[in-house]
Amino acid sequence: MTAASSGPVETAKRNEDGGERGLIARLRAGDDAAYEELVRSQGARMLAVARRFLRSEEDARDAVQEAFLSAFKAMDRFEGGSRLSTWLHRIVVNAALMKLRSRQRKPEISIEELLPRFLENGHFADPPSEWQQSADQALERRETRERVREAIDRLPENYRTVLLMRDIEGLDTAETAEALDVSPNAVKIRLHRARQALRGLLDEHMLESVA
């Protein structure tokens, strides 16, 4: 064993990997206590993900339940190429998307209304103004965090979903396209429009001067 592989960080990682391998072995053996351990150790993070996609707490919990059931059924096929938490993250995102598809769509604002407008000569109809604070400064205000969450919630669903998957959940374009069954180009267009719309929805708040 070399010095590089015997430090505290490496030791902690080996312990963690060993712990996870042990858990997976117990899960595959049908150990009830192992299933409960999995739910309690991973459930909070999965619930947070589901809540970002689904506006209803009931729907979010349903999605987490579905995700765990899918994971239990697929445990024999989990090859261990990624961490359990990464694998479960992907499953709960898919469960949340399925829940979104199953719900009746509510009337929502058109994305076009949230995009910048231009004159015939291509100039901004309403030239943007500098924001009073940077993102880091603004985030020190609780009100800013609430406004950002509200703005994301106001995005039309197709655009909100892509924004969440790409910018928040960290999936790449190809993964997002596959999960949504759309082309990678459609993902790129929706992401850019979602970001533009988010910027527009935050503009008023970010232009407020702070005393």
Partner: protein, 81 residues
């Protein structure tokens, strides 16, 4: 390049996906157009705000899984076993 065209290609520019010639035109426009420079900056800030808020561990992550959810998940597993 007009301001409208710039906003359409803004994401590609920021992610380095524009061909070199187009990138140069884009950069030149931003340098000469204060509204577009402002738009670019505020676009990036909006993306940062979204990422920061939604990944804020202290706000978003529940302390525990609700007990009734744990029981429901384990009960459903037991029924399907």
């Amino acid at each position: 390049m007009t301001c409208r065209e710039l906003t359409e290609f803004l994401m590609d520019y920021l992610e380095g996906d524009l061909p070199e010639a187009q990138r140069a035109t884009f950069a030149q426009h931003v340098e000469l157009c204060p509204p577009c420079l402002t738009y670019l900056k505020t676009y990036q800030e909006a993306v940062d705000l979204g990422r920061s808020v939604c990944s804020d561990a202290s706000d978003a992550l529940p302390a525990d899984v609700p007990e009734e959810l744990v029981r429901a998940i384990l009960a459903t597993r037991a029924r399907s076993a």
